[in-house]
C-alpha cells in the first residue's frame, strides 16, 4: 500500500534515541573491531587455503540442502498450525519451536541419541548399513533441526496475517484445496516464505554446537565454516578473522538478495 500523503509522525522522547543509538553501537562495534583486525595483505591467501575452501564449500552446500528440507517440512507444518484447530495444537507448536530456545549443544546430544549408532532410530539404520552420525548427512540434519523453527514461525505468522478470505473466494470460484494452496495461499505468503528461508539459511550457516556434538569436525566432511573458524582461532587467529569476515559477507549477501526479490514476488505492486 503506498500513500501519497505523509502522515504526521508521533513524536518519540529523546532518551529513546539515545538508547537506540547505544544499542546500534553495541551491535556494530564488534563487527568494526573484527574488520579492523583483518590482515588484508594475506587475506586472499588465508581464505583460499585448502581447509578454508573446503569448509566454505561444505557450509554453503549443507546450508542450502537444510534450507530445502526446511521448506519441504516447514511449509506443511506452518499450514497445519495456522489453518487448523485441534486439541493439543498449542503444545505441538511449543514443541516444534523448542529448538529455537534450546542450547544447540543439547540439540546435538538429542540428535545423537536419535540418529547415532546406539540411537533410537540410528541403531535400526545401522542394521541396514546406514550410518548417519559424523557424516555430512549429520551436518544437514543438525542444521535442519535448528533452522526449521525459524521457517515455521515466520511462515505461520505470514499465513495467519494473510487471512483466509482470498482462499474462501477461490473455493467459491471452484478451486479445489490443492489449487487454492498453489495459486492463492503460497503466492500470497511468498514474502513470508522468502524471509523464513533467509532466516533458516542464515541459522544453518551459523550452526555450531549441534553440528560439533552430533557430526564432529572432520575436514571436508563435517567441518563447516564456523567449526573451521573455531579451530583456527587458536592456531591461526588471522585466518579465523578472515573467515569470519567471509561468513559476514555471505550472510549480508543472502539477506540483501532476499530483500531485493521481495517487492517483485509478493507485494501489492
Amino acid at each position: 500500500m503506498s500513500t501519497t500523503t505523509r502522515a504526521i509522525r508521533h513524536e518519540i522522547p529523546r532518551w529513546v534515541f539515545v538508547l537506540a543509538a547505544g544499542g546500534a553501537l553495541f551491535v556494530t562495534l564488534p563487527l568494526v573491531a573484527m574488520i579492523a583486525q583483518v590482515n588484508w595483505s594475506q587475506f586472499v591467501q588465508l581464505i583460499t587455503s585448502e581447509s578454508s575452501v573446503a569448509a566454505l564449500g561444505l557450509s554453503l552446500r549443507t546450508s542450502a540442502i537444510a534450507t530445502v528440507l526446511c521448506v519441504v517440512f516447514g511449509v506443511p507444518m506452518a499450514l497445519v498450525l495456522a489453518r487448523t484447530d485441534f486439541p493439543g495444537q498449542q503444545i505441538l507448536r511449543a514443541l516444534v519451536l523448542l529448538p529455537l530456545v534450546l542450547p544447540p549443544v543439547v540439540g546435538g546430544i538429542a540428535l545423537l541419541y536419535t540418529f547415532g549408532r546406539q540411537g533410537l532410530v540410528g541403531s535400526s539404520l545401522e542394521v541396514l548399513g546406514v550410518s548417519i552420525a559424523f557424516s555430512t548427512t549429520a551436518v544437514v540434519i543438525a542444521q535442519t533441526f535448528v533452522a526449521l523453527p525459524f521457517l515455521v514461525l515466520s511462515l505461520e505468522g505470514a499465513i495467519r496475517s494473510a487471512g483466509s478470505r482470498y482462499e474462501a473466494v477461490a473455493a467459491t470460484l471452484g478451486a479445489r484445496p490443492g489449487t487454492v494452496l498453489r495459486r492463492i495461499t503460497l503466492p500470497l505468503v511468498l514474502p513470508g516464505l522468502i524471509s523464513g528461508m533467509v532466516l533458516s539459511f542464515a541459522r544453518a550457516l551459523g550452526e555450531f554446537g549441534a553440528t560439533l556434538t552430533f557430526a564432529g569436525s572432520l575436514q571436508g566432511i563435517t567441518r563447516t565454516l564456523p567449526l573451521e573458524i573455531y579451530l583456527q582461532r587458536e592456531a591461526d587467529p588471522d585466518a579465523a578473522v578472515a573467515l569470519s569476515l567471509v561468513l559476514v559477507v555471505v550472510a549480508v549477501l543472502v539477506v540483501g538478495l532476499a530483500h531485493r526479490s521481495r517487492p517483485q514476488s509478493g507485494g501489492a505492486q
Binding site: M1, R165, Y166, A168, V169, A170, A171, T172, L173, G174, A175, R176, P177, T179, R183, I184, P187, L188, L190, G266, A268, Q269
Partner: protein, 345 residues
C-alpha cells in the same frame, strides 16, 4: 436453477427457510446481526450449518450427513469488498474460476475477456488489482464471480463499500447481469432491493419476518424493520422530463440519480420528514403537491407519523395539533423537488 434451503446455525440463532426460483433474484434485508451474511456463508459452503438442508436444482448442497465443499457447489459469492487476488492481473483474476474448473489457459482467458466486456472493464485486463479504484475493482469482482457460470450467485452488500458516485453505475451493471439469473442479494438499501430483486425477505434475529414481492414488502410492511425501511415513501410511475408521472396522472418533479429516458418505469423516493402537511392546497411554488386522505395517525415521541395510504409524513406533535388532523381528513402532502430522488424501476 432453483434453490430450496432451510438454514440453521445455532451459534447465531439462525433458522431461515427460503427458496429462489429459476432466474429469480431475492433480496435479503434486515438489521445488522440478523444473520444475513451467515446465511450466505452457509449457502456458499464457507460455514457449516447445525441443521437443515439445501438443494440447488437436483444437487444437495447440505443435509443431514451430507456436505458439499464450496468448490463443488457452483455457487459464487460476491462480497462487500472485491477481494481480487492481489498477485494476479485483472485478467487472471477473472480467468481463475474457469481455469480452476478445468478450462485451458487460452479458453479461460477468452472467457475472462468476455466477462470483463460484460461489465465494461476490458481496458483494465492487464492491470494489477492495486491499480484499480473501488468501483472498478468491484466490477471486475462481478466478472470473476460470473465467469464460473454459477448456478446461484450470492451478493453480500455488493455496493456497501463503494463511493456514492459510482453506486448508480454499479447498480446498473448488476441489474443487467442479474436479469434472468438465480441470485440472492443481501443489502441494507431499499433501492437495491427495489431495483434488483423480484422478491424480498426480511430477516430479524435469525428468522424470516416478511417475505413477498419486493414492492409489496416495501409498500405494505408488517414487521418493525420493514416499516423502518418503508419509512421511505415510494411512488412508482413512468419517467418524464424532470420527474415522473403516476398511473393516476399525478406529476412529481424530482432529482434523478442518473438521467432517465422518458417513458421508462421509475420510482420516486422521499423521506417522510421531507413532507409537510397542508390543509389548504398551497400554490405558486415549484413543489410537489399530493392530495391525500389521512388514514392513520401515530405518535412517536414528539413526532407524529401521518399515514395516507402508502405515503407518510412526519411532523411535530404541535403541528399535528394545530392542523387538527383526524383520519379521513383530506389534506395535501407537500414535498420539495430537491427532496425527491428518482430511480429507474
Amino acid at each position: 436453477m432453483s434453490l430450496t434451503a432451510d438454514v440453521q446455525v445455532a451459534a447465531r440463532s439462525l433458522a431461515v427457510q427460503l427458496t429462489v426460483e429459476e432466474g429469480e433474484t431475492v433480496a435479503v434485508l434486515g438489521p445488522n446481526g440478523a444473520g444475513k451474511s451467515t446465511l450466505l456463508a452457509v449457502l456458499a459452503g464457507l460455514l457449516r450449518p447445525d441443521g437443515g438442508s439445501a438443494t440447488l436444482d437436483d444437487t444437495t448442497l447440505f443435509a443431514e450427513g451430507i456436505w458439499l465443499p464450496p468448490y463443488a457447489r457452483g455457487v459464487s459469492l460476491l462480497a462487500q469488498e472485491p477481494l481480487l487476488f492481489p498477485h494476479l492481473s485483472v485478467l487472471d483474476n477473472v480467468a481463475f474460476g474457469p481455469r480452476s474448473q478445468g478450462a485451458s489457459r487460452e479458453e479461460s482467458r477468452a472467457e475472462a475477456l468476455r466477462w470483463l466486456g460484460e461489465v465494461e472493464a476490458t481496458e483494465f485486463a492487464d492491470r494489477r488489482p492495486s491499480e484499480l479504484s473501488g468501483g472498478q475493482a468491484q466490477r471486475v469482482a462481478v466478472a470473476r464471480a460470473l465467469a464460473t457460470h454459477p448456478r446461484l450467485l450470492l451478493l453480500d452488500e455488493p455496493m456497501a463499500a463503494l463511493d456514492i458516485a459510482v453506486t448508480p453505475a454499479m447498480r446498473r451493471t448488476l441489474k443487467r447481469v442479474l436479469a434472468g439469473r438465480s441470485a440472492i442479494i443481501v443489502t441494507h438499501s431499499v433501492l437495491d432491493a427495489l431495483m434488483l430483486a423480484d422478491r424480498t425477505i426480511i430477516i430479524q434475529a435469525g428468522r424470516v419476518v416478511e417475505a413477498g414481492p419486493t414492492r409489496d414488502v416495501l409498500e405494505r410492511p408488517r414487521s418493525a424493520f420493514g416499516a423502518s425501511l418503508a419509512g421511505l415513501n415510494l411512488v412508482s410511475g413512468t419517467s418524464t422530463t424532470g420527474g415522473l408521472v403516476t398511473g393516476d396522472g399525478l406529476r412529481l418533479s424530482a432529482i434523478a440519480e442518473e438521467s432517465l429516458p422518458d417513458g421508462q418505469e421509475a420510482a420516486a423516493v422521499f423521506s417522510p420528514r421531507a413532507v409537510s402537511v397542508f390543509v389548504v392546497e398551497p400554490s405558486g411554488s415549484p413543489r410537489n403537491v399530493l392530495p391525500v386522505v389521512v388514514s392513520d395517525l401515530e405518535q412517536r415521541g414528539r413526532l407524529v407519523s401521518v399515514r395516507a395510504g402508502h405515503l407518510s409524513a412526519e411532523i411535530t406533535a404541535a403541528a399535528a395539533a394545530d392542523l387538527d388532523l383526524v383520519p379521513g381528513m383530506k389534506v395535501f402532502f407537500v414535498v420539495k423537488s430537491t427532496e425527491v430522488a428518482l430511480y429507474a424501476g
